[in-house]
């Protein structure tokens, strides 16, 4: 356990949705990259994204030669009719030499323990572990060494949690914001039949329809109107919780969440201080240019904070660079900042 006064730099964990994105992350200072296979075994199962065997082998070689670790996300839930896909994905990960697997399903963790006892296990954010009892239970049962915390805890709650577990805590630092507890949101399957838990997708692109109408541009998800944009208004991807709806007498407002990105640069010294072990950047679905820009900024910020935490302040250029690639071109501290709740 890291002592509360420690200022050891957390690892920077960056997304790799493709080999070029992986190279961007490594070249710009990621300590670790995470990736997934081209199927429903991971929570970014998007068309044209992710890795085949050849690309993984090349990616691992590239990363390892430059001192960067590679994690593989197998973080959806094996489905009753087809559990073999997840198991063979794990066997493959081990053969290829990944440094850790990121898992959500207890049955799959058990398989890892039995078949690959030396494999390092991380508990995915999709495992919805928000409290020390849950986290410590996964450690006792399956020997997980790290947990990725759901984006629902305040900074103080994260601090209290770290004090009660030996499991390393990884937190989200930047990227699109899930307003719901990861692993406990079935809104997407309610509308489209496919969810993060079952298919590794949220508001999947194949269910999206754009329609120009006299009242504006409409975005629909399996027929359900998610948003309508006036002429000249910036249109965003219709993630269903980020649409505008009517509730009571309030019309056309972001009833659940605005399109916005999480950005925790301004609380970086506190994250150091409370002993966060790793900071995760969201965005395997984003471009290599996004990965390069975000990784570069976060590398500089972490190095700056490591050099002198007391004098650390987020530079304006960093915030500008991040806002340029942020969803909705704006950012929030999310649940880390209590009033957001």
């Amino acid at each position: 356990m890291t002592s509360p006064t420690s200022t050891a730099a957390p690892d920077l964990v960056c997304p790799a949705g493709s080999l070029p994105a992986l190279r961007s992350a490594v070249d710009n200072g990621a300590n670790c990259v995470y990736l997934g296979l081209r199927d429903a075994t991971n929570a970014r199962n998007f068309a044209g994204l992710n890795f085949d065997d050849k690309a993984i082998a090349a990616g691992i070689k590239y990363a390892h030669e430059r001192g960067c670790k590679v994690f593989m996300a197998l973080n959806t839930y094996p489905q009753a009719g087809n559990p073999a896909m997840w198991r063979s994905g794990m066997d493959k990960a081990v053969d290829l030499g990944v440094d850790a697997v990121i898992l959500a399903d207890p049955g799959l963790m058990q398989y890892a323990n039995q078949q690959h006892p030396k494999l390092r296990l991380h508990l995915s954010v999709q495992g919805s572990a928000t409290n020390h009892d849950a986290i410590n239970f996964y450690r006792e049962q399956f020997g997980i060494v790290r947990v990725v915390l759901p984006r629902v805890l305040s900074l103080q709650q994260v601090e209290q949690l770290i004090e009660k577990t030996e499991v390393e805590c990884e937190v989200f630092g930047f990227g699109s914001l899930c307003v719901m507890v990861e692993g406990r949101c079935q809104l997407s399957s309610y509308v489209t039949g496919e969810s993060p838990n079952t298919h590794g997708v949220c508001s999947p692109a194949k269910a999206v329809r754009w329609q120009e109408t006299p009242t504006g541009l409409e975005s629909r998800l399996n027929g359900v109107l998610i948003d309508r944009y006036a002429h000249g208004e910036n249109a965003g991807y219709p993630t269903l919780c980020k649409g505008r709806f009517d509730v009571g007498n309030e019309h056309s407002y972001y009833a659940i969440e605005e399109p916005t990105s999480l950005n925790t640069l301004e609380i970086l010294p506190q994250l150091f201080k409370i002993g966060v072990k790793a900071i995760k950047i969201e965005g395997r679905q984003r471009s290599p240019a996004y990965v390069a820009q975000v990784t570069k900024v976060w590398r500089e910020a972490i190095d700056s904070c490591t050099a002198n935490a007391h004098r650390y302040a987020p530079r304006r250029a960093w915030m500008t660079a991040l806002d340029q690639v942020a969803e909705g071109q704006q950012h929030t501290l999310g649940a880390y900042h209590r009033p957001w709740k």
């Binding site: 559990p83 207890p106 049955g107 572990a129 928000t130 805890l153 009517d246 649940a335």
Partner: protein, 298 residues
């Protein structure tokens, strides 16, 4: 015969309303009643001692009682409250978070709740080995997958299906009801009490889409598997869960009771329920389709 359960009350009702509701439920043919606050720790009309008092009355009326734990545990006090429920020493507990499973595993039998994400045989087997005596399938699980899992079900493990009610689809750190009223969560003024069946969210073309229930988001449509009671018995489902609503809940129970006893045809039962639901019905999940869809598969 398949048993009927009443799921935990998901809304925030005034104390007297809650007591009256369970008095009424005691007189219905429901077999199992799940009790307790599973949504928000700020809700305090009833304390654990009050739930236990209701539990005793229900036991006297011949019901099996289960205490349910809160789904999303964030703070130390959330965890402490869960410990109290898990350690109540008298009633079976429904674990709705792995933290609660940890408190019960190897010590006491428990119900593995619908939010534990049990999608496959090894995970189900694991929970049974820890002491689960019943499990509730995920809301989004389809019939074919339940049927598969039933084939290799661990011995002594009962299966329960959420079969009626607005579905609790998502949980958040944020309170959407307070947000609607422009109130901070820490000073929410318990505004969710104004909405006994939740606060309806509509699309901008007026379609009832979701329901805001504090930190929980529900389907606006009512999941309704009334015409599948026979099919569920056929694949060995043990318990059918009905989720409480503000009005006519005793009539809803009566219709399901008639359906399980074959005293009412599925068609007639479905027609009866249409009159009792707070919104339109849906059954898409059961057929492996979008949850909000309604109708038998093509």
């Amino acid at each position: 015969m398949i048993r009927l359960s009443l799921g935990p009350l998901l809304y925030y009702w005034p104390r007297n309303t809650v007591f009256r509701f369970y008095e009424a439920m005691a007189a219905t043919p429901v077999d199992i009643v799940y009790l307790g606050e599973t949504v928000c720790s700020r809700r305090h009309e009833l304390r654990l001692a009050d739930w236990v008092e209701i539990a005793h009355k229900l036991v006297q009326a011949g019901k099996e009682v289960v205490l349910s734990t809160q789904v999303l545990l964030e703070s130390g006090s959330d965890v402490a409250a869960m410990h109290k429920v898990a350690g109540n020493g008298e009633f079976l507990v429904e674990a709705n978070d792995m933290g609660a499973v940890r408190r019960l595993a190897g010590k006491l039998p428990f119900v593995a709740g619908p939010h534990l994400n049990i999608y496959n045989q090894p995970t189900l087997q694991w929970l049974a080995s820890l002491g689960a005596t019943r499990w509730v399938i995920p809301l989004e699980m389809k019939r074919d997958d339940v049927a598969l899992l039933q084939q290799e079900r661990p011995a002594g493990l009962q299966t329960e299906v959420f079969a009626y009610g607005r579905m609790p689809l998502a949980f958040s750190a944020r309170c959407f009801t307070a947000r609607h009223h422009n109130l901070p969560k820490d000073d929410c003024r318990f505004s969710c009490m104004n909405d006994p069946d939740g606060l309806t969210l509509k699309t901008r073309e007026g379609e009832e889409f979701l329901v805001l229930n504090g930190i929980q988001t529900q389907s606006a449509r009512v999941y309704n598997l009334i015409d599948q009671v026979g099919a569920m018995q056929g694949i060995g489902i043990d318990v059918v869960r009905l989720s409480p609503q503000a009005h006519s809940m005793n009539d809803v129970v009566s219709v399901f009771d008639a359906a399980r006893r074959d005293a009412m045809s599925p068609k007639e039962a479905a027609a009866q329920l249409q009159k009792l639901m707070p919104a339109a019905s849906c059954n898409g999940y059961w057929y492996g389709r979008a949850g909000l869809e309604q109708g038998a598969p093509a």
